[in-house]
């Protein structure tokens, strides 16, 4: 089997723009495929729940254009997954539109594109549940019931390599996939080239964040991975970066609970026996992964649901007596809100973020200072009705000003209002689904649409 090389220019396409120079340098070495992931759960539940992208379209166009032009020039597959941050149908359609526009602008010769959709309708999942399917909680979550699904606005299924392989087999030269395991994007062309699932998925795991696997720390720079037999050589393309055993191994454990296991639909990679060895100044070889197929096909579901409207207010405190008794002042303010709206939890939530004490770590902070010089308080109020959320934020902030603390010397106001505004936040969302569902065939949850993109004005299919 011939070696197979993949170029990866970015760990999250368009979150910030990719760096062109190292990508073109990588493409000079004639990779066999160009692959990038474009989404993440890290950005929180709102983009999925509200079905909006957080990457700017100008940056999406920038990254897709650079990748597409090189992929077409080299005549190699380009695979992008978790399109437009969320991997929803909207994201796939947006990327397909951008690819068409870029092709037209550059008058590219016709090529086959596959759009792979993995968004799920909540009603379909309710139907599966009613027919006896189990939607099993991950990471200690309880199983999802109908109520969990009804709290969910939008759901995506996380595909493995199989739908992407099918699209490639059916002739796609550009694949725009919905939500996918990052490593599956890399595994698909490798599996099609005949490599084992172990090295295919493991290569994806090592390469998915591009230059994060190298040192010194740089984002958005291209890396190349050359797979040969059961090992992969990962190479830094930026002139100042190196891929070392330490950088590659420490990346293998990044953002994950267990550095020895990576799960995908249909199996998991065991990385406990992996070995890393320096090949030359810029490259490291990794090997030793084992793939364990699972007897059942469990596909991950990610879902987000709207919690309510959010309103915010900013308050500062400088009086050391107020700072020392800030919990008392907050209790007073919460009491004033409860007088009007009943106990917290019945339709409203209120959070005080105490910058200067423990706003960043809250209950995990081992040693919050009891007497900071100043306290910055961000008040966050949540209610279904934005007008009520506004009123809660106003009461919660202004009653710090009016807090009744015995013996206070500053009787003209116990807090500083940065302004009298109540700020309108984005609606609050929560991750409602971090679950798996069993299916016979992943294509039950995935749809593939093929089209021809003709930048020279021919009829698209």
């Amino acid at each position: 089997m011939k070696p197979f090389t993949i170029a990866c220019p970015t760990g999250h396409l368009a979150f910030t723009p990719l760096e062109k120079a190292s990508f073109l340098e990588g493409c000079r070495l004639r990779p066999d495929a160009i692959v990038a992931d474009a989404g993440s759960c890290d950005i929180g539940p709102r983009p999925l729940g509200a079905d909006r992208h957080v990457s700017l379209e100008a940056h999406q166009r920038h990254d897709l254009e650079i990748m597409l032009l090189e992929a077409r020039r080299l005549g190699v597959p380009m695979i992008v997954g978790s399109a437009s941050d969320t991997g929803t149908d909207r994201g796939v359609d947006q990327f397909v539109r951008l690819v068409r526009e870029i092709a037209a602008e550059h008058r590219l010769a016709p090529f086959e594109l596959a759009a792979i959709y993995s968004e799920q309708k909540v009603e379909d999942l309710l139907g599966r549940l009613a027919r006896g399917a189990r939607i099993t909680g991950l990471d200690g979550r309880p199983d999802a019931d109908a109520a969990t699904l009804r709290r969910t606005d939008r759901v995506v299924a996380v595909m493995n390599a199989e739908p992407i392989r099918r699209a490639l087999r059916e002739g796609a030269q550009v694949v725009i996939a919905g939500r996918a395991s990052d490593c599956a994007l890399f595994a698909a062309p490798l599996l099609e080239a005949g490599f084992s699932p172990a090295i295919a998925y493991y290569t994806g795991k090592l390469m998915e964040c591009a230059s994060f696997a190298c040192e010194p720390f740089m984002g958005k720079e291209t890396i190349l991975g050359t797979v040969e037999g059961e090992s992969v050589v990962v190479r830094a393309m930026h002139p100042e970066q190196r891929c070392t055993p330490a950088s590659l191994a420490s990346h293998a454990m990044y953002e994950r609970t267990d550095p020895f296991r990576e799960y995908v639909a249909g199996g998991w990679i065991d990385m406990s026996g992996c070995r890393y060895e320096q090949v030359d100044a810029k490259a490291t070889r990794a090997s030793g992964a084992v793939f364990h197929a699972t007897p059942r096909l469990s596909v991950k579901l990610e879902g987000a649901g709207r919690v309510g409207e959010r309103r915010l207010a900013i308050v500062g405190v400088r009086d050391p007596q107020t700072i020392a008794r800030i919990d008392q002042a907050i209790a007073w303010a919460r009491g004033k809100v409860a007088e009007r709206f009943g106990p917290e939890g019945r339709g409203w939530r209120l959070f005080y973020h105490l910058y200067g004490r423990n706003a960043v770590m809250r209950e995990l902070d081992p040693d919050p200072p009891s007497a900071p010089h100043e306290l910055g308080v961000v008040v966050e109020a949540v209610h279904e009705d934005g007008r009520i959320a506004e009123e809660i934020a106003a009461l919660a902030a202004r009653n710090l000003f009016y807090a009744r603390l015995s013996g206070t010397k500053g009787t003209a106001g116990a807090a500083a209002l940065m302004s009298d505004e109540i700020l309108v936040g984005e609606p609050g969302y929560e991750w409602t689904l971090n679950h798996v569902i069993e299916v016979e065939d992943i294509m039950e949850l995935v749809r593939i649409r093929h089209l021809v993109v003709d930048g020279r004005g021919g009829e698209g299919r």
């Binding site: 330490a246 191994a249 609970t257 020895f260 959070f351 770590m361 081992p366």
Partner: protein, 103 residues
């Protein structure tokens, strides 16, 4: 005694999925790695005491030899990015590790 920040080359935290925060302490110097690993300064019970969490919230803890690293994972009380969130990416939860005393 020496502080962990003097021995480790990387001390970081990050989301691991939507329900967990994961922490990586990585060493460039093999002897520093061995010293911390063998000292028990980052043993599970020490981490629970540092972060003042019950043992069941520490869901994973391991030594990852290929990266000369000690890694542990804490379950979040609420999923990332919900209202009230303090650190959407979980990227600033490692600071207390700097001051851990290593014998």
């Amino acid at each position: 005694m020496v502080k962990l920040r003097e021995l480790a080359s990387t001390i970081r935290s990050k989301n691991a999925g939507v329900d967990h925060l994961t922490f990586d302490v990585i060493f460039r110097d093999p002897s520093a790695f061995a010293r911390v690993r063998d000292s028990g300064a980052l043993a599970p019970e020490r981490i629970c005491a540092l972060y003042r969490i019950p043992r069941e919230r520490l869901t994973h803890h391991c030594v990852f030899e290929p990266a000369q690293a000690i890694k542990f994972t804490i379950r979040r009380l609420v999923p990332s990015g919900s209202p009230g969130e303090t650190d959407v990416f979980g990227a600033q939860q490692y600071a207390p590790l700097f001051e851990v005393e290593v014998p």
